[in-house]
């Protein structure tokens, strides 16, 4: 009986791994090679905004931003943790943090794994409060 439970658990595990891999391959982020232009709009703590048009061959957002020296931060196990955008550094002691959206929509990827395409529009905003 217990062997049967173990077998069922192992089968469930294998099936779930297969489902996860298939979903990642089908719906995961896909990078686009070649030249592209993306727009990055930065909203600073004082409410001022600056817009940058970036022409790049990079496939992910981080590469495009670093090409223009727009971001800096700490390397983490999940990629770059953005602390500075356009020269303004978030003061974590004041619960400040940089967040970003794509055409106003939430992005579930860090800048390292966010694929970019020609015409994309990203908005970086300095937020206060966790």
């Amino acid at each position: 009986m217990k062997n049967k439970k173990t077998l069922i658990a192992v089968i469930v595990l294998v099936v779930l791994v297969a489902v996860a891999v298939v979903c990642w391959l089908a719906f995961g982020p896909k990078a686009v090679a070649g030249g592209k232009t993306v727009t990055v709009e930065v909203t600073h703590k004082d409410g001022t905004t600056k817009t940058f048009e970036i022409k790049t061959d990079e496939e992910f957002l981080r590469g495009a931003l670093e090409q223009e020296n727009l971001v800096a931060g700490n390397e983490t196990e999940y990629g770059l943790y953005v602390l500075t955008v356009d020269g303004e550094t978030a003061d974590e002691s004041q619960q400040e943090w940089w967040g970003y959206t794509k055409s106003g929509e939430q992005v579930n990827y860090g800048v390292d794994s966010c694929p970019i395409a020609d015409g994309d529009h990203y908005e970086f905003t300095l937020n206060v409060g966790w």
Binding site: K2, K5, L16, Q106
Partner: protein
Amino acid sequence: MLLLALLGAMMMATQVALAALPNIHLVAVFVILAALLFGWKSLCSVYIFVLLEGLIYGFSMWFINYLYVWTVLAILAICFRKNRSRWFWTAVSGIFGLLFGALCAIPYFFIGGWAAAFSYWVAGIPFDLIHCVSNAVLTCILLMPLYRLCTKLLGRPMEND
């Protein structure tokens, strides 16, 4: 109660110690161990761990996830606590690691619907796969030796498979 608190603290300490490694930690091993040893009382260890996490990392969105995700594993482990098969718990721990992202996506379903929850889950699949493998390997290696050690320290008879 002291042992339950100690297990909660061990979950926290080992999680912080391994924080540099993405989704590799011993929390699932300790949650299952606590469930095997203490049954429903193990939920005290789980919530001590969750509270300590909140105190260290701050109480934001992720904290809502932590309020129920570890409880899911604890309840699952309590339901099967008579099972002493190393491979059964290896599989359960792996399944939990794989489903971690899906469980954490639940609040996004209420905020933004299926599309938001699904895209959140998909974005985390590589980390879920790492979580799955690391949970399975660590549980396979450590769970039963830790269980034998704890039963010996507690002066309990071993419950074999």
